[in-house]
Amino acid sequence: MTTARSSERRSRRDAFVRRRARVLVGSTTVAIALGMLGALLAAPGDLGAITWAGVGLAWWGALGTLTVEALVLLVVGPRGAGRRER
């Protein structure tokens, strides 16, 4: 019985560590996407104002960043206990 309880507590730790790694990956992805958009806006020569398909690159970058944020939510967003975590 003691072994079973110890094993359960250890599996909680494993789940916590896996979850923390997954959250780190998701947060880093969002931070990188934001950083890339920031770099575009701060780039010399007003790079973000250059138009592509009629719209400024900054807006395409913003659209891309919002899409990445939504995808991160979908892929590594919060999950309940019922869903298996890898």
């Binding site: 507590r9 909680r12 998701g26 806006l41 900054a58 919002l66 939510l73 967003g77 919060p78 975590e85």
Partner: protein, 541 residues
Amino acid sequence: MTPPTRVLRLSALLLSPAALLALGAWLLEDATRAPWPGVALAGGAVFVALLLANPGRLPIPGGVVELTSARWVDAGPSLVPLSLAQGVTAFLFVWAQLAAVRELAEMTDLWPPAVVVLVAVGLVMAASTDLSRELLVDAGAVVALAGLVVPVLAILLVTTPAWPRVWATVAARPRLTFPEGGAWTGEGAPVRARGATDVVLTFTEDQRVTVLAPGSGHLDSREGSRGRDVPADTELLLRPGDRLVVAPGTRVRFEPGRRIPGAPASGTDWVSPPESGGDGWSLAGLATTLALGALGIPGIHAGLGAGPRGARVAAGLVVAGAGLALLWGLYAAWLTPEIYVGGVAGVEVYELPGRVAALGPLAGPFRILALGGLAAGGVASALVVLGGVPRHLPGRSGGSRMPLIGAGAIGATVAAFSPVGPWAPLLTAFALAASSLAPAALLTRWSERVTPRSLGAGAAVGLLLFSGLTLAALWLHAGPADAPGPGRLAAALAWPALLALPANALVAWLRVSPPGASPGSPLADRLTELHRADHDATPRR
């Protein structure tokens, strides 16, 4: 059972009227950099969902103080800097929302300070009782989301949903001029300005302008000759460089086909303004403040909805809402260029439905829905944040309403009688939250070795740095010394979270307990409790 409307709270908090008004105003001034704050806020919502809600609901009302207390029963004096920061952040946030309410009230015939004080009294009364607070928050969040989504979708439907084409059209304008046949060139229209200050109209080309009765104005001529008063119903021929000063609400008639005073000279200037504040440090400071400050805003946990799916939906709504806020500004710039007259406060953007003739009889109701949504969002977000005001006073065992009343009363006073708009206090609230509260929110959830003392020390350092940098910036702003030019020092003064947040995290990390847990050892009970996905009660004390 948790109502589904709970998921709307995060969007009400992060896309509050104080933020939406600023996003709209920015887009009219600088098309290239305008998406940045909205995208950063959306990033903040994703961080909140990932870092605070994963894997399950965080059933703790309030903020970081309550979260820390849930993990350590005997946190004691370590909570003092966190409580102080949380209380001040809540006050600043409420001030920002009340300032937004004031700007909305300025569009009506009501006396704005009276409206602000009435709303503040209602907020404090509602925040004192759980039932009315919950009902008002949920109802306000629903109306706020409807006001943000429905009118703009209707406008897209009756004009064109092809926003890239709209963007290209606005960017290709050779000049921004008064259209033929509108109110501004016909019977005249009232010019408005933020606060009670006079409206200054600066002209860049020859134009015939009439100040209509019962108003009057003052003309400052470019040639430097002494200004002269302009009586009502006087037609003036203004030259480039002339400035016409009128009281807010004065009706003025402009000449069709002539440049709109206050507007960018052309579409090119809208895309790439001559004086854009877009250096890398400023952009990094704004993003750090908004995206990481969201983690420490009091009451943010209440916006995560019920369960993991609720948290994902809540954050997804903020991401979508940030995109819609951009469309509001874009379509306002396209359909109503004359809103630049008198300067842009942001409210004009959300009056757009009332000016779109294609909406027919729905134009009025959609305008009311948009403006009402902003007001309701302000009430909902302020109530959620007021729920995060620490209620325990030193020397008293039970909770007290005094902090709540104090936050509401001071917030109402400064919002009603100071000329400061909503964006400055909102940004300060996010900066303080990022500087002093965000690391504690993160570490309490995800660090095994962190202790209440390390969190308290980190928060104290963050709070001190934030206060010092903010006071230095205010002192320089007042003028006794030359403000530093663009660069790291100027960025540190303008964006204190850039320094205070890492310093806070570093101190908290350096003071953690020595490593004791081996990979095979169990997780601490209370940390386990915080990460249980299936419980729905406050962790036991």
